[in-house]
Structures are given as structure tokens and as C-alpha cells.
């Protein structure tokens, strides 16, 4: 089963003819993702190594029955691309692009509510269901198929934890990078709900970081709604207040959004929090072995 992306995914890549879009689109295809189309306005009729390119997402959907979109267009045009995908009837949109203005994301987030659309990102590595489909820039070779769901605000930290899990002989159902911006299409809650409903997923690792209160909201949700065990890791214990730590959303504002507060909120709900990525993977292994 897995979540978000899998064997049923028919992917259209918005920005397939750009260097990044091409590289990752082809890389996703080589992992087994069914990449059915690309979209670049003005380049309809061309192809990228056999993948047909269309001028519009609607055109791509009509011809190829695409049901998922990966947005790889530059930041000034990314909001437009997301709206276009939703308008064309795409139900899973993954936006990799970094630097989308925060106000655009407020509007898009409000716009997709109630439309049956799942938006992942922006500023995210995408989603990978090992052995089934990869939509985004996650290096699939370091993950293996298994029963651990992994959801994270970070990219490379996710790879680190995935790598630690692999070394302990554990695999993943789906790895989801939800993105590091202040407002993203899907927060921990939405992804946790998908994992809870997914038969392949036996337990979940949630990788959070400083800033905002999504980890705190997740803690309450996990306690009241989830039957599957969740292990957490939080990055940024030593981050000074008021500094943006690489991710736009990773900032302690006043006394809000600290790693310590998140850890305490999670532990108060009985969720175990690893001190290092290594310890986090060990906690997962303990639960898997129990």
C-alpha cells in the first residue's frame, strides 16, 4: 500500500524540460515511477527521453490520465503551477521548489481545503515509497521497503535517519518530506493520518525541528487518534532564539517553537523522543522487535 505515491501514481512533471526537472524526473522514472508527462508552456509536442511534453497540465491530464504532479518550476512561477495542477484535477501535488512567498502559501493552503487535494511542500524533498514510486529528490538507494512510515520537515536529516534505520535492518513504507517553510501544504497531522490508515505502515517516525507548533499539534493528535506507535526526533536544541536556521520555518520566535518545548509536549503524551538520529533509530528498532 504505502501512502501518497505508489504503483497507481501517474506523474506529470511541471518543469520537466528544465535541468533540475529533467534530472529528477528521469531519476524518478528509473526508480519505477510511472512518469507519464511533462509540462512546459511553449514546449508542447516535444519529449524528454520519451516522456511527452504538454503546454498545459489540463492537456497532460487529458492525454495521459496523470493523477499526480511534481512542481519543479522556479519560485516566482511555482504558485501558478500549483493552482494549475489543482484546476486540472490533479489530486496529489508535490512542490519541490524552494523560495515560494509565504503569502502565496497562505492563499494556496486555504484554496485547497475541501477540494480533495493533497499538497506536499513547497521546499521539500518529496515522497518515496521504496520499491513503488519516488516523486521528488529523495535518494531512493539509501532506503529499503518495509513497514516504518517516516515524515519530516527536513531533507538530508531524513536521509540520515533512514540510513540509520536501514543499517538496523529496517525498511520504510513511505518517506515524506513535508518541507521547511512556515506554511506547507500538508503538516504532520495530515501525513500521520495517512500512515495510521495505511496497512503497510506498522509504526511512524516523525522528524521535527524548531519553529511553529506543528509538533505540538501532532503530539495531541497521536495521543487521541493513533493506534500505531510513533517515535520522534527534534532538531535545533542548540539553536539561538531569533535566528533562521537554514529553513525559513526553523526559527524560535520569542519563547515559542523551541526544541525543548516540542520534546516536552511529545513526551507528555507518551511519545518517545530520540536525542540523536542514532538513538531515534534504536528506539524504532526496539519497538519493531517488541
Amino acid at each position: 500500500m504505502a501512502i501518497l505515491v505508489g504503483t497507481e501514481t501517474r506523474l506529470v512533471v511541471q518543469g520537466l524540460t528544465g535541468s533540475e526537472g529533467r534530472f529528477h524526473g528521469l531519476r524518478n522514472r528509473s526508480h519505477g515511477t510511472n512518469v507519464v508527462a511533462g509540462v512546459t508552456p511553449g514546449k508542447g509536442g516535444q519529449d524528454v527521453e520519451g516522456i511527452p511534453v504538454f503546454d498545459t497540465v489540463a492537456g497532460a491530464v487529458a492525454e495521459t490520465a496523470a493523477n499526480a504532479a511534481m512542481v519543479f518550476v522556479p519560485a516566482p512561477f511555482a504558485a501558478d503551477a500549483m493552482y494549475e495542477a489543482v484546476a486540472a484535477g490533479i489530486t496529489t501535488v508535490v512542490c519541490i521548489t524552494e523560495g515560494v512567498p509565504a503569502h502565496e502559501m497562505l492563499r494556496i493552503h486555504a484554496y485547497i481545503q475541501g477540494r480533495g487535494v493533497t499538497l506536499i511542500g513547497p521546499n521539500c524533498p518529496g515522497a518515496l515509497s521504496p520499491g513503488k514510486a519516488n516523486v521528488g529528490i529523495i535518494p531512493a538507494e539509501i532506503f529499503r521497503e518495509g513497514s516504518i512510515g517516516l515524515v519530516s520537515r527536513s531533507g538530508t536529516l531524513t536521509y540520515q535517519i533512514g540510513h540509520e534505520l536501514t543499517q538496523l535492518g529496517l525498511g520504510n513504507s513511505t518517506i515524506v518530506g513535508i518541507g521547511g517553510d512556515p506554511v506547507v501544504g500538508s503538516s504532520f497531522l495530515e501525513i500521520l493520518a495517512l500512515f495510521e490508515a495505511d496497512p503497510q505502515t506498522q509504526q511512524v517516525v516523525m522528524v521535527g525541528e524548531i519553529g511553529g507548533d506543528e509538533e505540538e499539534k501532532a503530539a495531541a493528535y497521536i495521543e487521541s487518534e493513533m493506534t500505531k506507535p510513533v517515535v520522534a526526533y527534534i532538531a535545533g536544541f542548540t539553536a539561538p532564539p531569533g535566528k533562521t536556521m537554514g529553513h525559513a520555518g526553523a526559527i524560535i520566535s520569542g519563547s515559542a517553537g523551541t526544541a525543548q518545548a516540542k520534546k516536552e509536549a511529545l513526551e507528555a503524551k507518551g511519545i518517545r523522543v530520540g536525542t540523536t538520529p542514532t538513538e531515534t533509530a534504536q528506539l524504532v528498532a526496539e519497538i519493531a522487535a517488541a
Binding site: 519541490i96 515560494v100 509565504a102 529528490i137 512556515p182 533562521t244 536556521m245 537554514g246 525559513a248 520569542g254
Partner: protein
């Protein structure tokens, strides 16, 4: 690579890295005026003589206000009342050059002094939790709003705006009535300012617009006496006029150098330089260095696609910090290729003559090639470690 963009959230960031663009009071007021929010007339002065001239133009009395990107100006003596042009000149001479919480004052704002009948507080913030703009309004103006929120939450009127619905006059009326404004003239003026503030917030793509205090003069005029205005960095490409307002001289010199080189860098206080790829992994690396008993000197993120030159640039920034005694490279290659990172390290060591220990942990894309490149170079100060935890431990030992 995709462009690096950064934004931010709320208020009170005394020492923050210039990622979201914090504007000075006079710049925020300039934007307020553009959107029709009343402010007092004023002039910017960089010298005491300028302050005198400005005061002669404005007429006395005036207030001389230090322009710094931090709070607590008043308490630090950075705001002074002047009764004459000569007085304003000497106040400016006192304030210019003053150090306020680590910020050196290089300009003052001279403004006609206002008589104050009443003070309100009005702000519009980017509420990332609710994913909506949030108005806050209270009759307890002029003081720290977080204190009002903590001690008398009922006195603080809060109202979210649906970003798709946008602003409607009822938002203004609701705030004014909830905030218990009783005078009809004040009600009308404040409700109008609420609407204009929303317009400024959305048009300028602000993360914060704050008026504290919003004053009422004895004549019943409502005016913004101060401004805090922060704009989303990611949106600056379509606001070149606001982008130009950035004061590059106000940043920490190392952070300014990093910005110029396109390196994401935050100065910390220890002696282990930390360099990773990706924000999360780098934050985690800094944490792990602390966890094993060390003191990180910095947070430095190569970004998703660090090439050899990116590594050289980042090392150029890190090694400018005299406190650094050892380096910890923690790379998990995704888009980043470990062989490129290894080449960058060798290039930087050669160019900069780095002599202190460098601990390198490489995993992911082309990690074997990267490790081989480093082994073949056989530099005496280069130490390879297999895991993140071991790498952090080794770097901390070597810095001691």
C-alpha cells in the same frame, strides 16, 4: 539549484540573521504613509548637523530617535526630546554611535513631538499556526504586547482574516468594538487604519506590521508613533523598492560575508566549526556536537547542491571566525555529491592553509569516491569518521 529563500514569523528578534527583512522605524513609517496610515512628519539624520537642520525645518519640539533593528531603545537612552534645534543637535550627537544591545546607531529619526491623549496597540502578524493573518488590538498601547497577552488576555482583541476572503470593513469594526474604543471619532479613524494596515501587509508581503503605540492626540487625531515592519525574503523579488531598504552594514560581519557568498551561516559561541548539507541535518549536527560535550562555533548549511566551490566559500566564512579550533563536516549526499565535497575540502585546505583538524563524515551519493579522494590526499589534519556520532565526538576531542 533552486534558489535559497528564507522567511520568518513574528516579532522581537533582537539579534536575528537578516533573512526576513526587518525594516527600520523610518522605513516602516514610509510604507505606512504610502498606504495612507497617518504618521508624524520627520527627517532622517546621520550627523548632529543634519539633526539641527531637520529640526529647523520641522519646528520644535522634536523627538530624536535612534534607528536600530532591536527593541529597548527608550530604556537605553536612544530616544530624546529636544526643545530647540541646538538641543536636537546635541541629542543626536549623544545618540549617534551609541551601542544598543550590540547595534551601533548610525542614523536618527527626527520627528515632531506629539502630545498623547491615549495609546493603543495594533498589529497584523503572519500566524503560521492558524495559517492566516492575525490582527491584535488593545487599548493598553505602548507596552510589551506579550506581557498584555500573558497578564490580561481579555484586554487583547484578536481576529484572524481568511486569506481568500481578504479584508472587509467589518474586521475593523469588530476590532474597534472588541477593543472597547468608545469615542466615535477614534472608532472611525482606527477602523480605517486597520484596513490600510491589511492592505500594506498583503501588498508588501509582510510577516509583521506593528504599530505600538498608535496614539490619539489631544485634538483627537490617531497616528502611528512607531513601526515594526518585517517583509518575507522570498517575496522580495517582486518588491525591488523594499529590497533596496536592506541595510547590509547592520548585519554581523561574518553573517554579511556568508550572505554575500550565498552560504547559510549562523554564528554560535563555541570552537567546533560545523558544516553540513541541508538545514535539518546541520541543525542536528550542531545538536550532536553539543550532546557529546562540545561547543559548536556555528551553524553552516551548504544547501542541497553543494559543489566544490560552495564548500570553499563556506570554509572561507567559517575560518574567518578566530574561535574555531576544529571542523566537523557532516555530509549526507542526496543531490550533493560527496566527491564534489571532498574536492572542495582539499581545494580550501590548500588555498587557505587550514591547519587545524578537520573531521569528515561522508555518506550517500558518491560517498566512496569522496572518501577515496580524501584518503589519497593523505593530509595530516584530515580525519575520516564513519558515522555522524563518531565524527562529532572526534571533532570535539580534537578541539579540546
Amino acid at each position: 539549484m533552486l534558489a535559497h529563500g528564507h522567511a520568518d514569523l513574528r516579532r522581537h528578534r533582537p539579534d536575528r540573521l537578516a533573512r526576513a527583512l526587518d525594516l527600520y522605524e523610518y522605513q516602516g513609517k514610509e510604507l505606512f504613509r504610502r498606504y495612507g496610515i497617518p504618521t508624524s512628519e520627520g527627517r532622517l539624520a546621520r550627523t548632529p548637523e543634519d539633526a539641527r537642520t531637520a529640526t529647523e525645518e520641522l519646528g520644535t519640539p522634536v523627538v530624536v530617535k535612534a534607528q536600530v533593528l532591536t527593541g529597548g531603545r527608550g530604556k537605553a537612552g536612544g530616544i530624546k526630546l529636544a526643545e530647540s534645534a541646538a538641543d536636537a543637535e546635541s541629542c543626536a550627537a549623544d545618540i549617534l554611535g551609541m551601542d544598543i544591545r550590540g547595534h551601533t546607531v548610525t542614523k536618527v529619526w527626527i520627528e515632531r513631538a506629539s502630545d498623547i491623549e491615549r495609546e493603543y496597540y495594533l498589529s497584523l502578524t503572519f500566524d503560521r499556526s492558524a495559517k492566516k493573518p492575525l490582527f491584535m488590538f488593545t487599548a493598553q498601547g505602548g507596552i510589551d504586547i506579550e506581557e498584555v497577552a500573558a497578564t490580561s488576555p481579555d484586554a487583547l482583541a484578536r481576529l484572524h482574516v481568511d486569506p481568500l476572503e481578504g479584508y472587509h470593513p467589518w474586521h475593523g469594526r469588530r476590532l474597534v468594538y472588541d477593543g472597547a474604543v468608545s469615542d466615535p471619532g477614534e472608532q472611525k479613524q482606527i477602523a480605517s487604519i486597520v484596513g490600510k494596515l491589511y492592505e500594506a501587509f498583503v501588498h508588501c508581503e509582510a510577516m509583521l506590521c506593528e504599530i505600538n503605540p498608535l496614539i490619539v492626540t489631544p485634538e483627537g487625531e490617531v497616528r502611528a508613533l512607531d513601526s515594526k515592519f518585517t517583509v518575507d525574503d522570498n517575496a522580495l523579488f517582486r518588491h525591488p523598492d523594499i529590497a533596496e531598504m536592506r541595510d547590509v552594514g547592520a548585519a554581523d560581519p561574518l553573517e554579511a560575508l556568508a550572505r554575500e557568498k550565498g552560504v547559510t551561516y549562523v554564528k554560535l559561541d563555541g570552537d567546533v566549526g560545523v558544516l553540513g548539507n541541508g538545514a535539518g541535518l546541520t541543525m542536528s549536527s550542531v545538536d550532536v556536537v553539543t550532546f557529546v560535550g562540545g561547543a559548536p562555533a556555528n551553524f553552516c548549511d551548504l544547501g542541497g547542491g553543494g559543489d566544490a566551490q560552495g564548500v570553499v566559500d563556506a570554509l572561507g566564512v567559517i575560518t574567518s571566525d578566530p574561535q574555531v579550533r576544529a571542523l566537523f563536516f557532516n555530509i549526507f549526499g542526496g543531490i550533493t555529491r560527496c566527491d564534489e565535497v571532498a574536492r572542495g575540502i582539499l581545494q580550501a585546505v590548500e588555498q587557505m592553509g587550514i591547519s587545524y583538524p578537520i573531521v569528515v563524515r561522508l555518506d550517500g551519493t558518491n560517498a566512496e569516491d569522496g572518501r577515496r579522494i580524501l584518503t589519497e590526499a593523505a593530509l595530516p589534519n584530515l580525519h575520516a569518521e564513519a558515522t555522524m556520532l563518531e565524527g562529532a565526538r572526534r571533532a570535539v576531542e580534537l578541539a579540546a
